[in-house]
Symmetry: C2
């Protein structure tokens, strides 16, 4: 039976979900594709574990448990203190290898380039390598062996639909609109229901919908990176700095502690209430939207018709609406759970299968 | 440059749109994939045209024009009176060949099986070969070289999402619900707006939304075939006869002329009005739904919540909602133009690209 080596960078929430899904799917995978998936290397932010024969189910479980408990791989018997990702690819790769990048750093690019140069595949949930210079995006994606479904819309097949349905059928794209943040979806739906902005941010933070510092979500940069990945997938040579991004808080709140930020939020309640009311007078509602048209992308709060696909979106679901030559009267719409580790991990697994197949 | 031979069965509305899209995309296709697409054979319902060197742009345009004017291929200088599809595959195929089936008959199966046996690819918009005996479906699809995106939801990537996102990520499917008839979508949206059933059917017929005999749409068999293809894609060994299908007219109206049928339609207005009113009392609305769950499929008029994805669907758009282990609170939803030759032709082209790539 043919073996496919997996080398995984990152063992956070998404990383652990990917390991769990691979373990759960292994037998069916062998039966369906005649391919055996083995992990020869895993790294976390501090250390790594390598076994060229492949880690056992029990060993992988032990690593996941150690990480879940807040530890690191070098706390386990398998790990050692090294974090040279390029060396890991060099050591743990074979002919049939897929590198999985589920980190959130821009430090993986060299290792990914080495993997692609060796003929390996790569599956990314990490947006950073794809949102650096355009030339790096081109280098990474030109082989066709790097897939990145989970970077936009988690498991909702936004990238696959764009590449393999719309672009593959030579259907010219006129406009893409999307809501790509579950957190900001939760906020805008709450605003529509009349809730206060400060209360919604506090609740989202308590529920774990936001990063520890909610400004990381409210600033919009994560959505901007997704818009950039879509734009570049369309072939547009944009840079991140060329995308106008509307932050949901004023610049003077960007510095200072998280506690100060949270304490200052009620000052924004009234301005948002007025903005929501103005939209509602025109049968519209506010959504945090990534818009792509005519070679340009922008990201920010938009008034959208309540009856539109974006206006009907509820809660933390993600949505992409493609306006094309074929989909000219109503857009092609994809919608579903865009947040949470399971959707993202499912998208990574779909990429692994596509690369292995 | 590598050449890919296209053999196309069918030159009706969809078939002509496929030829036009291939001609329009040819240059970009060569540039993008380094592959040259040539047509070596085309058949219509009476005759065929074969040229092993590949037809020129002008020749293909002439065939499309002849058919658009109501003629047949054997009216042109290229056609000859033969309609043995297996012989056409035998003569016009080479190492790199894709057979395109855009007919609506069950007479293409033998030729498709021969093509697959030779190692060719096949792209189907024709549902009939896939909705015969389950054993034939297995034979046709087991090689992985037969694609059928356009059979369900036209260009909306329902099949690709099911196969390459959901099944590929080993995400168990609990339930699929879909609206897969633009015609019946037009009718149910109209009923919701208070219009009479008879008036809506007459209008749909005038607009060309229905087959010449509207009973072909109202009977639900076309939707049942789509449900069967989805069920079989899930691996369920169902037969068409095992799918309960609700017809939108009573059995006594199944015989007789189209004119008699149209004249009898007003007798159905009051029953439908009552049914719509009963649904609306519960904040629901009627949709013609294909439902798949627990190994079973059924097709018919359902009361769905107005606030659900199906309830919010408008007009002739198609929709598929996948309820899975990952998409458990809200479904993964795909929505877009499901009717018309252009969406279908786009789906066929995406299949050709996937097979060629």
């Amino acid at each position: 039976m043919k073996t496919i080596n997996l080398i995984q960078f990152g063992l956070g929430g998404v990383g652990r979900a990917v390991v769990q899904r691979v373990l759960a799917a292994r037998d069916e995978f062998e039966w369906r594709y005649g391919l055996q998936l083995i992990y020869t290397a895993i790294s976390d932010s501090r250390s790594a574990a390598i076994d060229l024969d492949g880690f056992s189910h029990a060993q992988l479980q032990a690593m996941v448990e150690a990480k879940t408990a807040g530890g690191f791989l070098d706390d386990t018997e398998f790990g050692y203190q090294s974090h040279d990702l390029t060396a890991i690819v060099d050591i743990a790769g074979t002919d049939e290898t897929i590198v999985i990048d589920v980190t959130a750093t821009d430090k993986t690019s060299d290792a990914l380039l080495l993997a692609l140069q060796r003929g390996y595949g790569a599956a990314l949930a990490n947006k950073k390598p794809l949102t650096g210079p355009f030339s790096l995006f081109r280098q990474l994606t030109s082989t066709g062996r790097l897939r990145y479904e989970s970077t936009v819309g988690a498991g909702v097949p936004v990238i696959a639909t764009l590449r393999e349905s719309i672009l593959a059928s030579f259907d010219p794209v006129q406009r893409i609109q999307g809501c790509f943040s579950g957190t900001l979806g939760f906020l805008t739906t709450g605003l529509e229901e009349g809730k206060d902005f400060s209360e919604l941010v506090a609740k989202a933070r308590t529920l774990g919908y936001t990063e520890p510092d909610p400004r990381d979500d409210l600033g919009g940069m994560d959505v901007a990176r997704k818009a950039l990945i879509l734009a570049r997938t369309l072939g547009w040579p944009l840079e991140l700095s060329q995308i106008p991004v509307e932050s949901l808080f004023p610049p003077e709140m960007a510095t200072g502690s998280v506690d100060d930020f949270m304490a200052g939020l009620p000052t924004l309640d009234e301005p948002y209430r007025l903005r929501v009311a103005a939209a509602q007078e025109q049968r519209k509602t506010l959504r945090y939207v990534a818009s792509l048209a005519a070679g340009q992308a922008e990201v920010g709060l938009q008034e959208v018709a309540r009856a539109s696909a974006l206006g009907q979106l509820r809660g933390s679901d993600n949505l992409a609406a493609f306006h094309t030559s074929v989909y000219n009267q109503t857009p092609l719409v994809l919608q579903g759970r865009g947040a949470g580790v399971h959707g993202t991990a499912a998208g990574v697994l779909a990429d692994i299968v596509a690369l292995a197949d």
